[in-house]
């Protein structure tokens, strides 16, 4: 049930974020998964000088991240920690719509920007540029993940990149970029579009 809710939010309308959060994150996700993940147990046993939190990808892979890193960047996780709905002993945060590859990148981003926020602007920009050097699918996944976790600066970075991608492009080129095959316009509407913005085609 929970998973469904999350999916719906991602693909659809605009519920207030807080409400949905409290709906799914109060209850820690089942213990069975934890036992299946030796890495988690290991980390838990070793303990860590820095407080860590657990993130679980759609493939049920678990990532352990410094709490501070995620709290600083993700509004959602910050809210969870603040309102006490995350239990450091038992909880892990299920991110069922974020695959491991994307989650790893997101964590990379947050970690780098936490530890290097004093670097000079140019180095940071170069790092960002390298970070976003991904294909269209990768960018889509990152956008979805950043949106889901509400990572404001990553979102802005991605919007900026997309903005540059489509800047000055013609409509058919933009369709190719976004892989839009079925635009849903009737031939008449398409003709109308072409008439209205002849220079965009």
């Amino acid at each position: 049930m929970e998973l469904l809710c999350i999916r719906q939010w991602i693909s659809g309308l605009l519920p207030t974020v807080k409400k949905w959060l409290s709906a799914w994150c109060i209850k820690p996700v089942g213990g069975a998964l934890v036992r299946q993940e030796p890495e988690y147990i290991l980390l838990a046993l070793m303990g860590s000088p820095l407080k860590k939190i657990m993130l679980c990808s759609s493939e049920k892979e678990i990532f352990s991240v410094e709490e501070q890193v995620m709290v600083q960047h993700s509004v959602i996780i910050n809210n969870m920690i603040e309102d006490g709905s995350y239990n450091h002993e038992e909880s892990k945060i299920p991110l069922d719509c974020v695959d491991s590859k994307t989650l790893k990148k997101v964590i990379d981003y947050c970690t780098h920007h936490t530890h290097h926020h004093n670097d000079n602007q140019e180095d940071l920009e170069a790092w960002d540029a390298q970070f976003l050097n991904v294909d269209s699918n990768g960018l889509y996944d990152l956008l979805m993940a950043a949106n889901y976790l509400e990572i404001r600066n990553l979102l802005d970075l991605i919007y900026g990149t997309i903005k540059n991608m489509i800047k000055g492009k013609k409509i058919d080129e933009i369709r190719r970029i976004f892989n839009i095959k079925d635009h849903g316009f009737t031939p008449e509407e398409e003709e109308q579009n072409r008439k209205e913005y002849p220079h965009f085609y």
């Binding site: 939010w9 991602i10 693909s11 659809g12 309308l13 605009l14 140019e122 920009e125 960002d128 540029a129 390298q130 976003l132 050097n133 991904v134 294909d135 269209s136 699918n137 960018l139 889509y140 996944d141 956008l143 979805m144 949106n147 979102l155 802005d156 970075l157 919007y159 900026g160 990149t161 997309i162 903005k163 540059n164 991608m165 489509i166 800047k167 000055g168 492009k169 013609k170 409509i171 933009i174 369709r175 190719r176 970029i177 976004f178 892989n179 839009i180 095959k181 079925d182 635009h183 849903g184 316009f185 509407e189 579009n193 209205e196 913005y197 965009f200």
Partner: protein, 919 residues
């Protein structure tokens, strides 16, 4: 061949385009998404799409919305259409009608120009609250009254900073009657704001708290005393205020917190009365008020809790002391205020108002430079502008950036800027700040920041700092903008940065060249300013060998020729011609010279441009033709396109023109006259007389070039005779004996040598009838004078001691010493044809020992190892069998010592080149 580089400060213009959105500009386009992925992006959540749309320019927004039905619907969401900034768009009734369905909830609108103002009502944006327009000189009472009538919810109306000369009190009355919710009214340059209008405002607009009648001619100060609701009032720059009345009345305004009287003739006593009597007043802004400033004894420190801002107060300290706990002292008071969670309600109104008024006054003061403000600008003004650039109000930021762009310029025409001010900006971290703004996503800021960077970069130190902070990449990025104004300022920046050698490579590396060429194609039909700047930058870049190759690779030749052919704007023509000239200036190292000539219509267009009414255009076109004539095929093509007639006409008409034009006119004729056919045509068209006139010029560059042209012309006996007839001998003799330029002297001597080596005499005898005798008499006189001067000239380069040494020994060192003494460095650039070399070889056998020496001297110059064309000349001489003649000359008993030694050196040069050649 010459190349020219010139710098230019971008012209002042105001304001620009801003799009509401919230994402940073990414410098690098890292993604190559030509290969589409497998994800259908239509499955993005709606809010994400809307956020994305909000980042885009209107054009991209429309494109994206037209890609599919889902996004079409999202694209007309209300939240995307709360604000509209139409300043960089052509906005007319048609466009307004097509936007209308989306504008039901439009709150804020910025527009530019009277035509746009007329179209506003067609948006049918009944809920509009804020309206702001610039370039409103032509906006009329009728337009403004209709706008007021159709937007009854209007709360804020701002028109300026251009003077709204056609708006009268009637329109203000109409506004008062129609817009009861009005709280802010700021108008610039109204002729007369009468009591009726102000009383109507007082009566019908109870919420009116912020009034600005800025730069008006007449404002009824008595009536203003009736507007009880006013908190903030500005009459900055408004003349003929009765300050006596004001100071006795306005202090009674119960709510007045801020008053701006900058740039007026307010007196110290009026200021004192206002400060001491008003209960509510907290800030009095009186910047640049001459009468107040003259009174050095005036001090406002005794007025507790009241701040006076003027040129003689420490503005930063004043602001800090009044508003903040005094621990924070620095140049970031505005920033501190924003970051502090201040609950002083007054303050939250005062600061934005103050920012706005200060930025306005500073810009106005920067625009009309006056004496005595130097200290202010260096110590406070620059820092204030930088601080205002960080305001949260967009128009304040823009105005501050424009102010920075303006206040450093001393002289718009000569593009000179004030070093002290520029370096003050740099010292206060201004470069980084400006580059930061240039990187922002708001296009209005991008363009103003780019303009400031452009102007500041005229200073070499600033340019260096800009380059070091990554500014070149940022500007190259902005030059790719779809917004014309942004692209224009960025191109201006690249123009100024491309002056000198330091930054050309970096511009090329940042992709600037391609961006500039693309700009020309993108705006080829509609962008005078942007085209001029792009062409100007390309012209500077083309002066560099490597960059010029890149310009050609990027399609620059085609683009620039297109401008030269089609563009009607003189500034653009001038820069395009200059760029073509510089492109063609690398005759030996790349093929651009030929490439320009082969571009269809290029030479015809340039020939046409030499007839332009604009001197700069004529000059650059002639320069381009000069450089292009380096290529044999171009030379003939230019002549075929009517170049000879055009350039002769240009030379005839340029006696009062600038040295630059004179030089290039002579130079182009020089270039063309390399072929004898052209040379004859130039003589026939009447080119000799104007060239002689130019040879008499004081300017070194001009007479040097004219001497070159005359030298080429003199090769032809018919022309030689013309030169004599037009009085050219004395001109050449003067050059030969007294020019500061060795080259001019050398070429004048060679021209005289051609004229009097005998060929002309034959021609003169054959060509003339009865006058033959008298002519030959005068010819003899001219000949004697010429030869005497040639002799003196050659002797100047001959050190007797070195000659004696060389005569005594055949050691190479002795000959080298003679060579060093005789060498004319620049002569290495001259390139002679086989016929010319042959003529000097023949001259070695001339009965006149002076001409013998002169010929040997010339051949020596042309064959010195290391000279640009020495190898070419040596091979011509081998072909002409010169060695035998030279040996004869070197051994002849009758020849003067100089001739013999020079001949020996030439022989040695030939051997050297032969060994080189075979090796």
């Amino acid at each position: 061949m010459s190349r020219r580089v010139r710098r230019k400060v971008a012209r002042k213009s105001k304001g620009n385009d801003v799009v509401a959105s919230s994402c940073p500009e990414i410098r690098d386009e890292v993604l190559d998404l030509e290969l589409p992925g497998t994800v259908d992006w239509r499955s993005l959540p709606d809010d994400t799409v809307i956020q994305l749309l909000s980042c885009l320019s209107y054009r991209d927004r429309a494109s994206l919305s037209s890609t599919c039905r889902t996004w079409r619907t999202l694209g007309s969401s209300q939240c995307l259409w709360n604000t509209l900034d139409l300043r960089s768009h052509r906005f007319d009734a048609n466009m307004a009608s097509s936007l209308a369905p989306r504008c039901v909830h439009l709150q804020k609108l910025r527009f530019r120009g009277a035509e746009s103002a007329d179209a506003i009502i067609h948006l049918r944006a009944r809920n509009l609250c804020e309206l702001s327009g610039d370039y409103c000189r032509k906006i009329t009472d009728a337009t403004l009254s209709v706008i007021a009538a159709r937007h009854e919810l209007l709360e804020s109306l701002q028109l300026g900073p251009d003077f709204c000369e056609r708006i009268s009190s009637d329109a203000i009355k109409a506004i008062a009657h129609c817009c009861p919710r009005l709280s802010k009214l700021r108008l610039s340059g109204i002729r007369d704001v009468n009591a009726d209008a102000i009383n109507a405002l007082a009566k019908h607009c109870p919420k009116l708290t912020d009034i600005g009648f800025i730069d008006c001619l007449n404002v009824d100060e008595l009536a203003l005393g009736n507007v009880m609701s006013v908190h903030f009032l500005s009459v900055a720059g408004t003349s003929s205020m009765k300050w006596g009345v004001v100071s006795h009345l306005w202090h009674k305004l119960p709510n007045l917190i801020g008053l701006d009287v900058s740039r007026t003739d307010i007196s110290p006593s009026a200021v004192a009365r206002l400060l001491s009597l008003s209960q509510s007043l907290r800030v009095l802004c009186a910047l640049n008020c001459p009468i107040l400033e003259e009174d050095t004894s005036f001090s406002a420190s005794k007025y507790k809790n009241k701040l006076l801002i003027s040129l003689f107060t420490n503005i930063f300290e004043g602001l800090a002391s009044l508003f903040f706990d005094s621990t924070k002292k620095g140049k970031n008071v505005f920033l501190d205020w924003r970051s502090s969670k201040n609950n002083d309600k007054d303050l939250n109104e005062i600061i934005p108002w103050l920012e706005w008024m200060l930025s306005h006054t500073l810009l106005r003061s920067a625009e009309s430079p006056q004496q005595g403000l130097d200290n202010f600008w260096v110590e406070q003004g620059g820092a204030l502008l930088l601080s205002l650039m960080q305001s949260s109000q967009e128009d304040v930021q823009e105005r501050a950036a424009t102010g920075l762009a303006t206040f450093v310029v001393i002289d718009d025409e000569n593009a000179s800027i004030d070093c002290g001010r520029a370096e003050a900006v740099m010292r206060d971290g201004g470069i980084r700040l400006l580059l930061g703004l240039a990187k922002s996503w708001r296009e209005g800021l991008q363009s103003e920041a780019a303009k400031a960077i452009a102007n500041l970069s005229v200073n070499a130190n600033v340019a260096k700092a800009v380059a070091e902070e990554g500014g070149i990449e940022i500007l190259a990025g902005l030059a790719r903008s779809m917004n014309k104004l942004v692209a224009e300022e960025a191109a201006g920046g690249l123009w100024n940065l491309s002056v000198g050698e330091e930054h050309k490579g970096a511009i090329a590396e940042a992709g600037g060249i391609k961006a500039l060429v693309d700009l020309i194609f993108k705006w080829s039909s509609s962008g005078d300013g942007v085209l001029e700047r792009a062409a100007g930058a390309l012209a500077n870049l083309a002066a560099d060998d490597k960059c010029s190759t890149e310009v050609a690779l990027a399609g620059g030749v085609h683009a620039l020729v297109m401008l030269a052919r089609n563009c009607k704007f003189e500034g653009v023509q001038e820069q395009a011609a200059r760029a073509l000239a510089n492109l063609a200036a690398h005759g030996d190292s790349n093929s651009n010279n030929a490439a320009v000539g082969q571009e269809a219509g290029a030479l015809e267009a340039l020939v046409q441009l030499t007839r332009s009414p604009h001197e700069g255009v004529r000059q650059e076109a002639a320069g381009a033709l000069w450089n292009l004539s380096f290529d044999d095929r171009n030379r003939e093509a230019i002549a075929a396109a009517g170049g000879v007639q055009a350039l002769v006409a240009l030379a005839q008409s340029c006696s009062n023109a600038s040295p630059g034009l004179q030089e290039r006119a002579a130079g182009a004729l020089w270039g063309l006259s390399v072929s004898e056919a052209n040379s004859i045509a130039i003589g026939r068209e009447g080119g000799v007389a104007p060239l002689i006139a130019l040879a008499r010029s004081e300017a070194e560059d001009v007479h040097e070039t004219a001497a070159g042209a005359l030298w080429n012309l003199a090769f032809n006996p018919g022309n030689a005779l013309r030169i004599v007839e037009e009085g050219g001998v004395s001109a050449l003799v003067d050059l030969c004996s007294s020019s500061v330029s060795k080259m001019a002297r050398f070429m004048a001597a060679l021209a005289l040598a051609y004229m009097f080596d005998g060929r002309m005499d034959e021609f003169a005898l054959v060509g003339t009838g009865s006058e033959g005798i008298s002519k030959s008499v005068s010819l003899d006189g001219a000949r004697r004078m010429a030869l005497k001067n040639i002799e003196t000239f050659v002797l100047m380069f001959s050190d007797p001691q070195a000659f004696t040494a060389a005569a005594a020994s055949s050691a190479p060192a002795a000959l080298s010493q003679v060579t060093e003494g005789a060498r004319i460095q620049e002569a290495g650039h001259l390139r002679c044809s086989g016929a010319e070399i042959g003529r000097f070889v023949t001259m070695l056998r001339n009965p006149s020992s002076i001409l013998k020496t002169c010929a040997a001297f010339a051949l020596l110059q042309f064959t010195i190892p290391g000279g640009r064309h020495a190898v070419h000349h040596a091979s011509l001489m081998q072909n002409a069998g010169a060695a035998r003649v030279l040996r004869g000359a070197a051994a002849a008993a009758t020849a003067p010592l100089e001739a013999k030694i020079f001949a020996r050196i030439v022989l040695r040069n030939l051997e050297y080149h032969q060994i080189e050649h075979t090796a």
